[in-house]
């Protein structure tokens, strides 16, 4: 069939060019569209086309607005308008007419009208509201075609706010006798689920009915909804696992009508959908996985025909097998399957094979070994896509031994690559690998230089930043540091002597910083030489003014000696009259400091990178100035939030964008570029605001929290953060000479034996052995980012004045945590033999711990309380128990004797607040974990109780928490501690919301070690509803009025009313008030207004109106998603009542 199509189609282009007239005539003899199209194809230039189309549009415009145009003609006009729009011309005048056509035409005209609407408008277009009525009418039509059309358009686009208006009608269609209508209705509901899940959450039982529909098509359609719902919440649908398996078995067994076959494969779309659902259900769940194994096996067996569609199914099977709980027999089969993909001569299959491998090597790196020769071939493949995917695979198997080869390959690719998106991605990966596995200084600096010159100005800014940070903080030994810096200086000087004009700006900035900071290390290099080189940069046209200011700062650090000063003076003259104020300021600084050596030595001390910077954050030296100004009548200082509030009250401006900007920009000036222009300008800009973002006065450590947010691309930093510490571990350099590498290779007996081969073949073999070194069963490969037990050359020193004891604690800490983490993350025996003595992993807490400094050391953990009233919640906060109401039902384990008395371990400062019930998280033979949350004014405190139920003391406990929706920060340095036998350790975290979601979840891991024995770890997760973060917001009705108009995100819904009392509205609102802690502002007749906030500063307003026995609720907030989530909880609260 397909061959026929292809042949016919191949024959046709000639028809198009030679015989276009007659061909077109045959198709549409007289139509105006035909004329238009023919007219356009005859034209030769773009300009002529434009003229013709514009003329056409003018005539269309004239006709559509004429009252005499019939609907028939209108339809024809619309088709022409669609065509013009497709060519890229503006036809917005016709949109309204398209809607009119959909409204008034007969069925066929209507169809074109709907088509035009769906092509012209998108979900947010305001004209779409006009369509709602038409859709409503058509849904009720007796003409099936009209119903179909309405459902089709609903499934494509529908204004979110109007869903409730048509939802009942769509639901009704689920019972329609025609299966096509049922199926379209299901897909329309799927669309609703995607754009507004809480609007359809009350009809889940209807989805279940659709799943059981007698028509396989309707059932298949409902799977789309289920896939989505199960992806969001796999726990809720475990009971359906067996049903899905049965369906899949029937499909695979060929029980469906022949209609559904595609190239004699039974319903492949359905199969793949089911496989995807099953992999979500079986993920991390052994018991569910066991139900799935058999059908997977059968699917693999049945998919034999050599056709794309069977390969599609196989690929999905393999993905499923590697996602669910592993079973060795199936894994073997899947591995064989991947082999077939990789070895296939078809490009598409090869590509997918490589993709599957990247996915699989995380669990089984040996599989990559099996296919090493194919991988090498793919590495030189002419198709860039294949090459790119191969590099991705190599990235996953990189270790200290093969890093040079792999990075070389990546850089090779980068040099020819033109796509920015790929460059950004790959450059990041190279930088990561270089930092993690660099074998020596020269290599590291050279690689980073290539990264900077290739990555240029598109790469992520954190790459140069963290490189500089690394240089400035130094590593293990002073001597090593010196060598590294010296090498950097030397190589940069030679770069500048070459052709600096070709280097990207970012690289120039890095170069000038390094030269400014470290060029004194080089003995034969004179400051004046460097200054001259830098001055040359200033003269180049291509240099941006940002770079210029970096250069000027570097010069300021360097200018000394007669020659140097004269160069500096020259530069000053040019730039002290620059139009750019920043440059002018730098030039001034340079001028003053170059003349005053003493001052310069004080302001810019040499090698200051290692010293923590003392910041007088209270800016006390300005006190005199301030009091003078005040005396002279200046307005007193107001902190930003106060200013904003006033602004909001007076002008009702939106508060959103300003909230965080100042603290972030402060933290963005990391210590590394402490003396960079960025910092200087930022801090001078900030000086007025200091009291607000000051560190505690006179503290000697730098505050580091917040740094993560600025520097991190997600996922990237978490791998990088661990490098932060363990300064005191010895580093045997993992440098390997080629001969040593050869030795390593010889140990790979499983390398496929090949017969003696000609030269190119041998080269490949050699490449293979250098690429795949270290992947054998006894070598240490760890592919999961966080726990890298391999040797790491570049380790950062712990910063700040950490006391020796603290430092040693960190080390032992990392010793404990690493192997256990790794054990836990990897399913099988990858690592057991590979734990080397140099470990360098820390937890995120490490940083926060450092930042908290000694001040927080006398924190509040381990507080033993015996007061009787600890458990009592504060009466002022309404309904302590109700906080728990929406929680996953807390169940007390009978064999947990400590369950009740945990309350007494609640930290003292939290005991007065209302807290949720203490829920058990997980337990094993030695540890029992429980947690509860406590509502504080501006955050939610999560308290984790670790009960040591074993007979021996645990010395080191490390707790790591992470969450997608929440910001988790440790309240005190309690994250690391020990627990005596049969006693409880308490950790406290403060949670704030990053982005609202109906339920939020914190996942965590406890790593611990007994004095004797191996390290262990336990994982857990803690789920809580968003209501824990909701606080009442007290506002007056007037304030409410102004706020209401400002908020952009809203949602509306009808809720059930509690009508058993005298005043249904007041009763209902009281229930909401009690359960969700809302503040009822006022009730006026049939309307009520309610306000609350998400923690401190994210308000949400609610407007309720009694209408025909239901409560119409309208929620508004400046925060996206918040209204939807809150609506969900309101609904729940009222249902539970």
């Amino acid at each position: 069939m397909s061959d026929v199509v292809e042949k016919t189609l191949t024959a046709l282009p000639s028809l198009l060019s030679l015989d276009s007239h007659s061909g077109a005539t045959k198709l549409s003899s007289t139509s105006k569209l035909g004329n238009l199209i023919r007219g356009i194809t005859e034209l030769t230039s773009k300009h002529e086309e434009e003229k013709l189309v514009q003329r056409e549009l003018v005539s269309i415009k004239e006709q559509v607005s004429s009252p005499n145009t019939s609907m028939r003609q209108m339809k024809e006009l619309m088709v022409r308008a669609i065509y013009c729009e497709m060519l890229g011309y503006e036809t917005s005048f016709s949109y309204i007419h398209a809607i009119k056509l959909a409204q008034q035409g007969t069925a066929l005209e209507k169809r074109v009208g709907y088509l035009a609407v769906s092509l012209f408008l998108n979900e947010s277009h305001e004209l779409l509201l006009l369509l709602v009525n038409t859709v409503l009418k058509d849904l009720q039509s007796t003409n099936l075609i009209e119903v179909c059309m309405a459902l089709t358009v609903v499934g494509q686009m529908f204004p979110k706010d109007m869903i409730p208006a048509i939802l009942p009608l769509v639901e009704e269609k689920l019972n329609h006798p025609k299966e096509i209508i049922r199926r379209k209705a299901v897909l329309a509901l799927y669309k609703f689920y995607l754009i507004a899940p809480n609007q359809v959450q009350h009809i889940h039982n209807k989805f279940r009915k659709a799943l059981c529909d007698k028509d396989p098509g309707v059932m298949a359609a409902s799977l789309h909804i289920y896939l989505q719902m199960i992806q969001d919440n796999p726990e809720g649908y475990k009971d359906l696992t067996a049903s899905f398996v049965t369906i899949l078995k029937q499909v695979v067994g060929g029980k469906l009508p022949m209609d559904f076959n595609y190239h004699s494969v039974p319903a492949p779309w359905l199969q793949i959908q089911l496989l995807r659902i099953l992999s979500f259900l079986g993920k991390n769940d052994q018991s569910s996985s066991e139900i799935i194994y058999e059908v997977l096996d059968e699917s693999l067996r049945r998919a034999e025909i050599n056709h794309n569609i069977t390969y599609a199914i196989l690929y999905e099977c393999v993905k499923c097998i590697y996602t669910i709980h592993p079973k060795s027999e199936l894994l073997e089969k899947a591995a064989k399957c991947i082999g077939n993909f990789v070895l296939s001569p078809k490009m598409n299959l090869k590509y997918l094979g490589l993709k599957a491998l990247t996915y699989v090597v995380q669990q089984d790196p040996k599989l990559a070994l099996q296919h090493q020769m194919t991988i090498i071939e793919c590495l030189d493949h002419p198709d860039l896509i294949i090459k790119r995917e191969t590099l991705e695979l190599l990235f996953r198997i990189t270790n200290a031994q093969n890093v040079t080869v792999i990075v070389e390959k990546m850089l090779e690719f980068l040099r020819v690559n033109k796509d920015d998106y790929t460059t950004i991605d790959l450059v990041g990966k190279v930088a990561e690998l270089a930092e993690k596995y660099a074998p020596d200084n020269e290599w590291f600096i050279e690689t980073m230089s290539t990264v900077f010159s290739v990555g240029g100005d598109v790469m992520q800014p954190d790459i140069p930043n963290s490189f500089l940070k690394l240089l400035s903080e130094g590593f293990d030994s002073v001597e090593e540091d010196r060598k590294l810096r010296l090498f950097a200086v030397d190589s940069y000087v030679s770069l500048l002597q070459g052709e600096p004009g070709k280097l990207p700006q970012r690289f120039l900035q890095v170069i000038s910083w390094v030269l400014g900071e470290y060029s004194y290390l080089s003995e034969e290099l004179e400051a004046a030489t460097v200054l001259r080189l830098l001055a040359k940069l200033l003269d180049m046209k291509s240099t941006s003014s940002e770079t210029k200011s970096w250069v000027l700062v570097a010069m300021t650090k360097l200018c000394e000696g007669g020659a140097g000063v004269s160069v500096a003076q020259e530069v000053c003259e040019t730039y002290s009259s620059s139009l750019d104020t920043v440059l002018r300021q730098r030039a001034q600084e340079l001028q003053h400091l170059s003349q005053d050596c003493e001052l310069r030595a004080r302001v810019l001390p040499r090698d200051a990178g290692l010293e923590p910077l003392e910041v007088d954050s209270s800016l006390s030296f300005l006190d005199g100035f301030v009091s003078e100004a005040l005396a002279a009548g200046a307005a007193p200082y107001k902190p930003p939030h106060q200013r904003q509030e006033e602004l909001a009250q007076s002008k009702a401006l939106s508060l959103e964008p300003y909230g965080l900007s100042l603290p972030i920009s402060m933290s963005s000036c990391s210590i590394a570029d402490r003396q960079s222009p960025t910092l200087l300008s930022v801090s001078s800009g900030l000086s007025g605001d200091s009291p607000d973002l000051s560190h505690k006065g006179g503290s000697t450590t730098l505050k580091l929290d917040g740094v993560k947010r600025v520097w991190g691309r997600e996922g990237y930093l978490s791998q990088r953060e661990p490098v932060e510490e363990s300064a005191h571990v010895e580093v045997p350099s993992p440098l390997r000479s080629p001969s040593q590498q050869g030795e390593a290779e010889s140990s790979h007996s499983q390398t496929p034996a090949t017969t003696p081969t000609p030269q190119p073949e041998q080269e490949k073999q050699q490449l293979a052995s250098s690429l795949f070194v270290g992947l054998g069963s006894h070598s240490s490969v760890c592919l999961m980012g966080k726990s890298e037990p391999t040797t790491q050359r570049f380790r950062r020193k712990a910063k700040g004045p950490v006391s020796p004891s603290a430092a040693s604690e960190q080390i032992s800490n990392s010793l404990v945590s690493t192997p256990s983490t790794a054990n836990d993350l990897l399913c099988n025996n990858l690592l057991d033999s590979s734990v080397t003595s140099e470990l360098s992993v820390s937890s995120p807490e490490q940083t926060s711990q450092l930042s908290q400094g000694p001040a927080a050391a006398n924190g509040t953990c381990d507080v033993e309380l015996t007061d009787g009233d600890v458990k009592e919640s504060s009466p002022s906060l309404v309904g302590g128990n109700s906080v728990v109401a929406a929680d996953p039902a807390p169940h007390e384990d009978p064999d947990r004797p400590e369950g009740l008395c945990l309350n007494t371990h609640l930290p003292a400062e939290l005991s007065g607040l209302c807290h949720s019930e203490i829920t058990p998280l997980c337990s094993n033979q030695s540890l029992d974990l429980s947690a509860c949350h406590v509502q504080k004014e501006d955050s939610l405190a999560l308290v984790v109780f670790i009960y040591n139920s074993s007979d021996s003391d645990i010395q080191q406990i490390l707790l790591e928490l992470d969450s997608d929706e929440l910001e988790v920060s440790c309240v005190c340095d309690s994250a690391v501690q020990g627990a005596r036998s049969h006693s409880v350790a308490v950790c406290q975290y403060s949670l704030t919301v990053k982005r609202p979601s109906v339920h939020v979840e914190v996942v965590g891991m406890v790593s611990y070690q007994f004095p004797v024995g191996t390290p262990q770890s336990v994982q857990f997760s803690y789920k809580l509803p968003l209501t824990g973060f909701i606080r009442p917001l007290t506002v007056s009705t007037e304030e409410y009025g102004t706020m209401w108009l400002d908020f952009s995100h809203d949602t509306k819904q009808k809720l059930t009313l509690i009508s058993d009392g005298q005043e249904p509205l007041a009763d209902t609102l009281n229930v909401l008030k009690k359960k969700l802690q809302l503040h009822v502002v006022e009730i006026i007749g049939m309307e009520g207004i309610v306000a609350c906030r998400l923690l401190r500063d994210q308000p949400c307003l609610m407007h309720c109106r009694l209408h025909a026995g239901t409560l119409s609720v309208w929620l508004r907030s400046p925060v996206p998603d918040l209204p939807d989530c809150l609506m969900y909880h309101c609904q729940r609260a009222l249902q539970e009542h």
């Binding site: 016919t8 198009l16 198709l27 497709m86 074109v112 088509l115 379209k184 590509y351 790119r388």
Partner: protein
């Protein structure tokens, strides 16, 4: 889920566009330009899958027409290739030996067929018979005789 479907000629002329998620006009133009260039630059007999930003692009050439879709990350590329093929089969069945001209001159019909086949970026009807039946039904029930005659003869 499919994000978009584009049909364009070897010369890069757009023949049909369908967007399954809301996209602004500017963004649409950018996607069309980028993806068209990307696909047209591919040498023959190379892999049918590409990356564009965070999307996977799957394309296939049928004679002078390129069929091209943008997918989300978890979608199955091979299956999508078959979706494209099935669409071509459907067009072929409707027009009878479909060619680019059929799609140019009757693009609204091509859209209708697509609407019966895909809905919201997911396959609505996997049975080939059912799709053509529902398209035919809609056509014959409603078309006047004249329109019926102007339909391509097969």
């Amino acid at each position: 889920m499919m994000r978009f479907l584009l049909l364009f000629s070897r010369q890069g002329k757009l023949r049909l566009q369908k967007w399954f998620t809301p996209v602004t006009d500017r963004e649409k133009k950018k996607v069309i330009r980028d993806v068209t260039m990307l696909v047209l630059a591919r040498p023959p007999r190379s892999c049918n899958f590409l990356h564009w930003r965070d999307l996977k692009v799957v394309y296939k050439r049928y004679a002078s027409l390129y069929f091209c879709t943008g997918l989300e990350n978890q979608d199955n590329e091979l299956l999508t290739l078959e979706v494209l093929h099935r669409y071509v089969e459907l067009l072929d069945k409707y027009f009878g030996n479909v060619c680019e001209l059929d799609i140019i001159f009757n693009f609204e019909k091509a859209y209708f067929i697509l609407d019966e086949f895909l809905m919201g970026g997911e396959v609505l009807e996997t049975s080939k018979v059912a799709v053509s039946v529902s398209v035919e039904e809609a056509d014959t029930l409603q078309e006047t005789m004249e329109e019926y005659m102007s339909k391509p003869a097969y």
